[in-house]
Symmetry: D3
Subunit: 323 residues, 6 copies
């Protein structure tokens, strides 16, 4: 795997760093499956076992590696080189021995992330469906994060089902995470919620228990700057996890998801909000629910996920630098 | 056909009410081709004979049945169970014996809707092209609506051609409907009009005769709340029909239409306007011009049409409840 | 649901029986979820839980209903009206309460088919992935088929894995079915096998245990008439089940499958073989592994599956008539 | 419009004659809407009014112009320069004033072709649906072809419906053409017929009345050389029209059609048969039923139609040269 | 080629002027490859040699001819007949003998445009990639535009690379154009710039040298009316060229481009800005970087490009009328 | 990069070796950019500069890595473990500093392959367009292959243009290779040639100079076994290179190519021929001209290319074992 830094300085091969060149890693970071020389690990979790709908999100990490593997040393809007903030590596994909059982797969994911956290590495995970977030948070709790985390949760769904069929590790992990003390519900904020439901129960529970639930309608009315301010108030200065379900975005802009809901956030709003979170203590993050077979021919969803990933590297990298 | 209500209460089968399960009906409503136990009938009109362009809208009802057949008992934004307002059924598709002649097809459509109205049922039709609205309105006039109806017309085109080739029942029925006294031009409002034309004549006629013609540019400038207020002023308290041509929406958001015009309304604006019409006396409605072969892989147009259909059930259901 | 027979005789509405008209059922058969008036039940099994690859086959029944719902009273090549042979109904989709656990889902499927068999109905199932065949066969064994069945198995894979991850009900059920005495391995024949493998073990087991394993290469060399003759010799006169995995067909002709293997059978060979099986005692059948999101824009896979379904109605219908 | 001949000789611009360069005409022939300097006229008939199914064939001429506009002076398999045989021009598209009424549109088509025949020009038409062939044959009968023509008809359907809904000029014109004396049924041969039907009536009529009906199964069994020989026997030496409905070809090879039937002829068989017809007295031809929105991303149907068009130029050109 | 004006007045053939009818020219303008009777020439430049990424923009002119060939005599938003302002012709495509070498291709393009300018014709070019703009500007400089031109440049990239690999005529021509004195950097404004980069150097150069660089974020914050005002201030009254790279637009609205960047301008903003430029002295323009294979099935990019082309005809036509 | 061998033996992770898992290499071979421990190097050449048509083949290596990265230790038809024959590695992609100039790019390619050959490694290259084969052969000639090579060339085109525009290193390199003494024309055989041409010159030259030119028609008539025998006769026992242009295959089976020609070889014929070449002294090979944007949604071309690559590993591996 090319060490992007050293090779780029040594030679003048601009075109060979196009996204399609060579073996793809996340954001063309060095591939270090042995966890060496790494502050922030980008990790694929190619698993989609927690939801009976649109189960192709296991193709997400490959798609985002393919599309993000260009050479982006300068983030124009943040005015920073994201890779100057920390040593960022692609740690490969999470091995899962039992993909067909949600609870067994969750154990595999938790075990792998616990190993990563034990090595002192912060993680930005690339799903997979939303069932991957539960075991990641649980691994953090058992290793690097003794206190419940704050949570910034972009999604069109509350993902707060108490139980689903006969599994606890379904793709709606946030009620479980709250009840297990893995996240602090009062420091939890959801952004982008919308759409018809079988019943209002899950929504009512979230409104009652979480720090804030910002529907898409509310986000529209208040504008992205007010939403960013609200998020900052809810999560405060404590360590916070950011989980980005791509279906928070309008399915015209991000069609490559598993459970789309019309009339969602625009990328413009999303990036305005994200860039308004600079300075928060974001200790880990994930981008989930990219379903490549649904994407449009121009792969807008993969491109958006790649840009969000780059933004997250800045947010987590700067938080780590301050720590 | 499953009676969604009773089965859902009796058993705990959440996943079997996913949109792809079983035989699809509009919004998973009971299928009642005998018109029994019905206040509001959802009716497919799989016909596209009135326009030489993009004649695949006959596939619209199937596409919208397929996509809307999830289980949505709670409308989050309206905060209401749409199906608690009235007995809503899928009455099946309109039989048409002569699809190849616009005027003969129109007679078939008019005859079927007259039968439905005679049964005391309000209708929400799913097209088909816009030529289906003419005979629906005419059937209403002859049966349940003795006075000209107000009209809320979402479209990128005025659809006010006096005659087209050698048929009166073309896909631009609103000048005819006005001249026949089926609609009241002064209580008629068009929203979303835009785009280049062969000549300004049709536009000029509409501006002169209709209560209001709101171009997309005007809607943008005034904002959706002002547009909703204008609509309320124009149609007033009288019985009103709402005809939604999906090409009112920007063709990036709703690509699955027959005659797209760039630079249209966004879903956000459309739903904001629609939800601002609560309380009007909307006695019938249609959603027309969905052309599934043009839709994107994620089927955004079918999803939007399904959501609009659910909104219309609320608007017509509440109006009927008040009546 | 329209009773196709009576309505068609009563009226002259040729165009309204196009495949897109009305609410779709398999082959436009009457929908009878109460199992009434039925000799052969067409049953959807919208489940894809037994394989970590390409898990969208739960969309198969909807896709095949949509495409097969034309009006086909005359099978040109068999020269017979398929629906004159028996009372054929669409019994709806199999309810599955636990889609996320292969073994629990299998129990649900087995229970439903046992109910159908108890009503004296023969079944032609539409998958879903190949994990649905195991419980169907087991239900038959416990009810209508006391002796092991012969098996005609079209597939590109042997599907003879002894165990997979931690489930027995995976999408490779035929070694298990053999070991459970549900099928008779010596009266079992596989057609279409091909492609690279992780190891030759499964293939070796199948060759050793089954009556015959016909690779695609062998089928090409011998020609379809010889293959049909071989099948007839292997399964003999006893009751036989036919399981058709669409990936037996070349993925250019049937792209809408989950686990394609290049260089497969052509539709021409498949239909020549199928039509050479007339007169066998085929007591049940299935068509599995259609994955609609992979299909081509013209939906060739859905069309092929629909034609195979029509052929199977003739094969099962004639066998039942002879019984 | 570039005069391909003179420009090509005068300059050395190989790449500018790629198919996408400049304004597209059929096979990059000179555009001569005034009918000047023309022996064989290639004419688009962008009309799809005769069939309620898949009505997008009006886009066929544009698609085939776009794809055939490369520079092909040498037909490798025929070993001839097709354009050395006759002066071949693109005469543009047929003007149709009433596209919404099949019988009125047919009159427009007949009138235009009568004008072309009056100018002594042979025609190769590019549809459009199969309803365009009836008026073309009728125009020929009234002008250049006093006696009934022989007919070579490639199709998956017999297209021998006596009447359809309330029009005579439907997309199944060959029974009408036979009854009107425009074609000689005994010198008519159909190739490629297959697939399920509502009833066997139309098929029985064709078998009884036409010189030969070659099903796809029969063509497979006999092989293309025998089919070519049969065609030669049926149509003999007399003037003969060749009508090629692209759905004769298997819909995997030609997905871009309106009414596909699985399990059809392969391009290999089609070209082998076509090239076996050299020497027949083919006085006119058409290629119909290309529906571009159904085509695959690689546009195989448009490419096949373009190659068939080139073959037809040779067949008609050589026949004209001999005349 | 039909003279749209005269034919339309002479006959009543509305449907034959649909976009798919006949041989397509830009905006259905008369085709005049001899440069006769022309004030404004629409010229295709089907070349994509200047960028190693997404090199399919040579298909752009064909795609835009195909889509723009409807009949649009009235621009609703400008309230003007664009073709009443000047004699507008399609002059065909630029002949390029050496497509494989950027610098040789540039010479071919420059030579052709010099011939056009020598005939006193203003040009609106349709690319092709952005490498076509350099030779067009150079040709203008040598013939009709003795002084450096102002430049209004819509793009997501600065396109100000000093050199690329071993060619000067790459797809980023604006630094070269500035250094050659072809454009006046102080009268140059870029709109829509955004996205990550290999380094900030090019961006820094542009900010320092050009009159204004308006990022997408800045355009969002200021609103389109302010952006239009800023453009007017920068370019002033002098002769100005407008170069529109379609990737300025968000890739969800314009997916059919070669080098998309997420989070771009919306069509609504673009048209609001463009229509705010009325009255400027725009002497020439281009629309570049349409890559049809990336477009969505509904061809939104081709439609947007066609509408932009129509707007440019008004802007250049009115400027010429005033001149 | 995982060392597939050791990891697979050490653990039981069947699902993690699905094609989408982890970072993709050709056939999941170890990635060894330092050329260590390698007998056969699989090398991407992501370049498409030699042909003005369909220039997206630079995406070929990525596409084939993505699709071939499953775990295939057993080739069912050859009955061999391909990776037991030699140490096979993915050496990464060829660095090219000047992608925009065919002759400069060719120098870069030649230099890289010369380095590989100097390390004693045999190569199987993955294109890229056909211009990559020229420099590969030239590098071999200068290092490991002192005598002209035999050539087995699958293609629909002769690729024997003497010169093209102003470059020698165009995508038709075989006349140049013959004239340079890099290949022995008498030991050269072309298979799959077909389709219309601008002139018969290139074809005539090939027929006259090469050992054999087998058109698709001839291959059909003789059958694949005879073609394999002919190839064996032409190339004999000497060292031979195999160059496989995917457009040799019918574009329905392999749509993802740049210059498709209808009516080509089937995969069945191709694999029958390839497998008939066992025992020849094939010292190197390539698979070129995969253009992913043209591929069908099921990615049949990428799958075919992957299978051909696996076959080539066997052919080159066995030849090397014998050497």
């Amino acid at each position: 795997m090319p060490d992007a830094d050293s090779e780029f300085n040594a030679t003048a091969l601009p075109t060979t760093y196009q996204y399609w060149w060579g073996v793809p890693t996340f954001l063309r970071c060095p591939y270090r499956p042995d966890f060496s020389e790494t502050d922030i690990g980008l990790i694929g979790v190619p698993h989609a076992g927690g939801n009976p709908v649109g189960r192709m999100q296991y193709l997400g990490p490959r798609s985002i590696r393919n599309r993000s593997a260009g050479y982006h040393r300068f983030h124009r809007e943040f005015r920073v080189d994201p890779f100057s903030l920390a040593r960022v590596s692609d740690l490969g994909d999470t091995p899962i021995t039992n993909t067909l059982h949600p609870d067994m797969a969750a154990d595999d994911i938790e075990a792998f992330f616990a190993r990563v956290y034990a090595a002192g590495i912060a993680t930005i995970a690339v799903g997979g469906d939303h069932s991957v977030t539960g075991p990641i948070l649980r691994a953090a709790r058992k290793t690097s994060q003794p206190a419940p985390l704050g949570l910034i949760h972009f999604d069109s769904h509350n993902d707060a089902i108490p139980a689903f069929e006969s599994t606890r590790n379904h793709a709606g992990p946030f009620r479980m995470a709250s009840e297990e003390g893995v996240i602090d519900p009062k420091r939890t904020v959801q952004i982008g919620i919308r759409g018809a439901m079988s019943s209002p129960d899950m929504d009512d529970w979230a409104i009652e228990n979480f720090g804030a639930v910002v529907t898409t309608d509310a986000a529209t009315e208040q504008g992205p700057d007010a939403v960013a301010a609200l998020i900052r108030r809810v999560v405060g200065d404590g360590p916070t996890y950011l989980s980005f379900d791509l279906d928070a975005i309008d399915p015209v802009f991000a069609p490559g998801v598993a459970t789309p809901e019309v009339n969602g956030l625009t990328p413009r709003e999303v990036f305005r909000i994200l860039r308004g979170l600079r300075g928060l203590n974001i200790v880990g993050a994930d981008v989930v629910c990219h379903s490549p077979p649904n994407d449009d021919p121009a792969q807008n969803t993969a491109m958006l996920a790649s840009q969000i990933l780059l933004d997250l590297v800045v947010l987590v990298g700067e938080a780590r630098q301050r720590a």
